[in-house]
Symmetry: C2
Subunit: 664 residues, 2 copies
């Protein structure tokens, strides 16, 4: 083979990844060189032969999606981003690996303009979220056709990803749905932090995936021709996702540390780096990629420019309605029909004054929203009749070729559901919402957090939100969940107090294009408090005076959700005794915290404050001030009819009245 | 067949379960009749032919364990408890199903005196926790021999249990470890709440379990002879756990509602109950079990009385040391060596004044505790070198016949680890602790909550507890986790500030026989603040004055964990400016909240209060009062060396000093 004028080999291109990974980790004095070096060959095949992407048009809706589930191998992602020509991913950013404000943090953080489709690091999330990408692709394909939506989701996943339980939930569902556009490249390197995976992990992983209805292929991950053949074969699948088990050597190229956990999560060190440079014939200074190698990579990054142009032409050739619908769906904005639909619904509720559980009010809101907003795709983790998540007339996304529809049957897979929702939100074209019992917010929590961190519009419908669910008892009664969810940054927690607020909270959730929301909803009925219609979304300020005191305000009762009803009862009793009492409904602490001090002070009032919420106290002191009283749950719940439980735990209008009088 | 004098058939005995289940659900007007009716036949075979248990001696350490993972079918558990003769489970308790204060809440709540080994209801937890029972059985068998420990763990699990991701983690590990004493009876009824499981669940479940290294057997769950043969076969396994797929009809016996989701979670109704009585030939009034049927069940409950007597004799025949060790291990008390070991360690630390990360201090504490306390069984979710959980000289529990040891390699299975720990704590004989990054407390959260609800001594070692972990970035930096964990009732959250407090916190965790604890530990080094040795465990009061003000106390800095160091620096600067400043270390809010008001007031002081914790504010207002300042995290973290992050987020001694001065 004559090297002088030849194109750099794929192997040399892969070695560019290895060199950048080991050099960046060394410079940062922390990071994970082993995984990028082990998977460099597989990634090189994928990015040079298959992946449809265009660094000049990185947010192209019909690009293939690549997800590095094993996010600790972030230098693989950054090296690929730099080499293939994402403009902002300069060599200086690579040199600033893991430094404050760099584009190269310890784990990849979502930024499609860099080719980073999602934030990864917590194991299991990437491969599971990828299922949501692949599902959104098929759903939007069913809506817009092959001309506009026809792409593949590729994942690199580690042993750890596949040990995580969420991978079971999501991959089982992927098999059930027959998501043939999903291809998972498993980095089967037999090494984890503790040592050999044999210490704890002896699954027959391909057999496991076949039990889910996947294709499986096994290859030597350093035999590039074999990897190419495997991916090509996977792409022919018409009815199943594919797992390609790539047997690799972690840290491949490092002569002394490869195939050992010593190269997993630590720099190689100067000596081993020097030895590696020799071993892989990479006689270049740190961070230097020779021009010919860089050119070859940039050419790989330019492969799909024609495909992009052709796709753009196809989009332009659509009729105006389709084009507008496509752009609206992928534009990630606020749906045009949202506000009018909600205002009309509120007017009707204020007139009808129903006594609905807020979960029923939510179902009623969805009956209006889903037909009006084509992007909404709902679902439930096998609690459809309890969560009231299926809008009238909506159709199941059955899978296996049938992807037209708006409703996903997630099965008893709360965590998997949350990951799929995140993937759908990240993919674009759909706005996902999904339901479970609020208790099981705990099961979804890692993905709820990730939605908040990634600023994605995933809408979680959490019903049965307190002891108000009654007989199912303490295993099913959220007590600490409101506090625990309020603690998550950038998560909007919404607990509406009646059917009008429920509609308003849905509006806030759908409007919130840069973050997730949770609707905490009751199982039990509550009256309509907002009987005077306002077009204004009063819940948007987080808390507001629902009922002002008659006479001088001496007391303010702060309440959320079903406890707004108790507050209103207590107010009536106090007013009857001549004690001017206001009721403040607080559907969202986060939104109230964003209001100016004058508004907050006016709402909270100067008098005695009583907070009432059938939940833990944690966080309430912020609103109660120094003379406040909290009435809520002292610990776990009990199993009994809910009316008895409220009495048993002393969460009653009488208790509120007594507390106010005791303080006055 | 002549019925007059014959023993009631197994079928008739099973029908007693069916009748009690449908009658109790009907009386409660809520509950799940379908599952108990569907699995009545399987349960009857298990309880009459195999299960080793003695309702007269329900906490017999060597009893078989039965776990109803599908806890919504609680009436199956209660019917079995009543029928087999657990004294307190009277027919009146059955009649009070789902009522306040009954022994028959909506989902089973742990009470071995009733035959209820654990609290179930959140799907996936039972089958996964059962793996911990089965592991503890083998570990204690390795320690005490077949004469004292030789029993089997049986589980009834539903489709939903097996859809949950945690079942993947725990069952994969069960296969890896070769837990042959674990037998899972899968209620394969093809029905879930949304309808047919085909809507979302088409795994080949037996193939999946074989991929984990399990035996699998498939039977007709209503063919009692076949069920008997399957369990008998499973009991012969020497190296693998067994899944028995029991094809059943949900609601079996109800002529119109069987095999439909309509009988899953609602009462059958009077008409269908009448029809069922006819169909199953059960002409008895509600809650009436004829004497002959009850006698037959009571005889089943008395089957193992001889085995219990023989076991007692074997225990009595042990040498005194073995007997004492066995009774100490299964006595669930405070280990005798605990206090002296900790006091000696503290004396050494106070003298040596090391600058250790608290994770290192924890490892050092374990080096002392593990050799002294035979019951301690540790582990990590594949982060052993980071969590510092493996004590010097401790030995891996390898599994597959090798169960002598004190350390479990859980793999990248945080949730599975937490369930196994709970199972070990419930089983008795061991005190489980296990490590992961604190970020992944989210993955374990459903099981941490269940440990708290069940009052079990599971000790979670959560290292890398803040932005102090540095470069791994926001996916790995806990921000909201302290607040979210503090919100869980009956969970002790411990965040020690130096090596002495770390030892004290370990003591508190091991002493806490009635609940779980979490140790939140730093990655980064901190100095030793407690340089004067005290035998007293000062952390036991939750918060205490670590450094009193010189002169009049004008300010109090409240801090936890690594931020105690910042507080001490700030105090030095303020005292240099003549501002009397105390530092309060708050290793546990829960313990401080239990102190009397006078102690709390003395600790918190009257002056300006500044709280400093590299975490979310939620909950801090309780301690800060109306004039307090909080210095902490405004949102998610960033990836950078940790010293830069503390500066970037303004969590510095300078910021504390400025805040105090601004308020004075």
């Amino acid at each position: 083979m004559s090297a002088a004028t030849a194109q750099p080999s794929l192997q040399t291109m892969a070695n560019a990844i290895r060199a950048l990974a080991m050099d960046a980790v060394e410079a940062a004095k922390s990071g994970h060189p082993g995984m990028p070096m082990g998977m460099a060959d597989v990634a090189t095949v994928l990015f040079t032969k298959f992946l449809k992407f265009d660094p000049k048009n990185p947010t192209w809706a019909d690009r293939d999606r690549f997800i590095l589930s094993a996010g600790h191998g972030s230098m693989l992602m950054y090296a690929l981003s730099h080499l293939t020509g994402y403009e902002r991913m300069t060599i200086d950013e690579i040199k600033r690996f893991r430094q404050l404000g760099s584009l190269t943090p310890g784990h990849p953080e979502v930024d499609p303009s860099l080719g980073i489709e999602m934030t990864t690091g917590p194991l299991g999330q990437g491969v599971s979220t990828a299922v949501g990408f692949a599902l959104a692709e098929r759903i939007t394909n069913a809506r817009f056709g092959d001309a506009l939506v026809d792409h593949t989701t590729y994942v690199i996943a580690s042993d750890g990803d596949l040990m995580e339980g969420v991978s079971h939930e999501a991959c089982s569902l992927a098999g059930h749905l027959g998501l043939n556009r999903l291809i998972v490249l498993w980095d089967d390197n037999h090494i984890s932090i503790d040592g050999s995976t044999d210490l704890s992990f002896t699954d027959d992983t391909p057999a496991r995936f076949r039990s889910y209805g996947w294709n499986t292929i096994s290859v030597d991950g350093h035999d590039m021709a074999a990897v190419e053949a495997a991916i090509a074969q996977a792409r022919t699948s018409t009815d199943k996702p594919t797992l390609i088990a790539c047997r690799t050597i972690i840290g491949k190229g490092a002569p002394n540390k490869a195939n050992s956990h010593s190269c997993h999560g630590s720099p190689l060190g100067a000596d081993e780096i020097a030895a590696t440079r020799t071993a892989i014939d990479w006689p270049h200074a740190p961070f230097v990629v020779p021009d010919d190698v860089l050119s070859a990579w940039r050419a790989a990054g330019a492969r799909s420019a024609d495909a992009f142009a052709a796709w753009t032409a196809r989009l332009d050739a659509q009729d105006a309605d389709t084009r507008a619908a496509f752009q609206a769906a992928f534009g990630r904005g606020v749906p045009a029909a949202l506000n009018d639909t909600i205002v009309a619904l509120k007017a009707k509720i204020s007139a009808d004054k129903p006594s609905w559980a807020t979960r029923v009010a939510s179902g009623n809101t969805l009956d209006a929203l889903v037909p009006a907003i084509a992007e909404l795709v709902g679902g439930s983790a096998d609690l459809t009749p309890s969560n009231n998540t299926k809008a009238k007339g909506s159709v199941d996304v059955e899978g296996r070729g049938k992807f037209a529809g708006q409703y996903v049957r997630y099965g008893v897979r709360e965590h998997g559901m949350a990951t799929l929702m995140n993937g759908m939100a990240l993919h674009g074209g759909v706005i996902p919402y999904g339901g479970t019992f609020m208790q099981f917010a705990d099961y979804c929590r890692p993905s709820i957090r990730l939605a908040a961190l990634m600023k994605q519009r995933s809408i979680f419908v959490m019903t049965h939100d307190s002891i108000g669910l009654g007989e199912d008892g303490p295993t099913h009664q959220p007590v600490e969940h409101l506090a625990a969810l309020r603690a998550i940054p950038n998560l909007l927690v919404l607990r509406p107090g009646d059917a009008v607020e429920t509609a308003e909270c849905w509006q806030l959730a759908v409007e919130r294009v840069n973050g997730p929301s949770i609707l905490a909803l009751t199982r039990q009925n509550v009256p309509t408090h907002r009987t005077e219609h306002t077009a204004e979304n009063r819940s948007a300020r987080g808390a507001y005076v629902l009922a002002e005191a008659e006479g001088v305000r001496k007391a303010t009762i702060l309440a959320t959700g079903s406890e707004v009803s108790l507050a209103m009862e207590a107010r009536a009793a106090l007013q009857a005794d001549g004690i001017g009492t206001a009721v403040v409904s607080m559907p969202s602490w986060e939104l109230f915290a964003e209001q100016d001090a004058a508004y907050q002070a006016a709402v909270l009032g100067d008098g005695v404050r009583v907070g009432v919420e059938a939940a833990a106290r944690l966080g309430w002191d912020r609103w109660l001030g120094s003379n406040g009283v909290f009435i809520g749950m002292p610990g776990f719940g009990e199993s009994a009819p809910y009316q008895e439980l409220y009495k048993h735990f002393g969460i009653t209008a009488e208790a509120v009245v007594s507390a106010v009088k005791a303080r006055l």
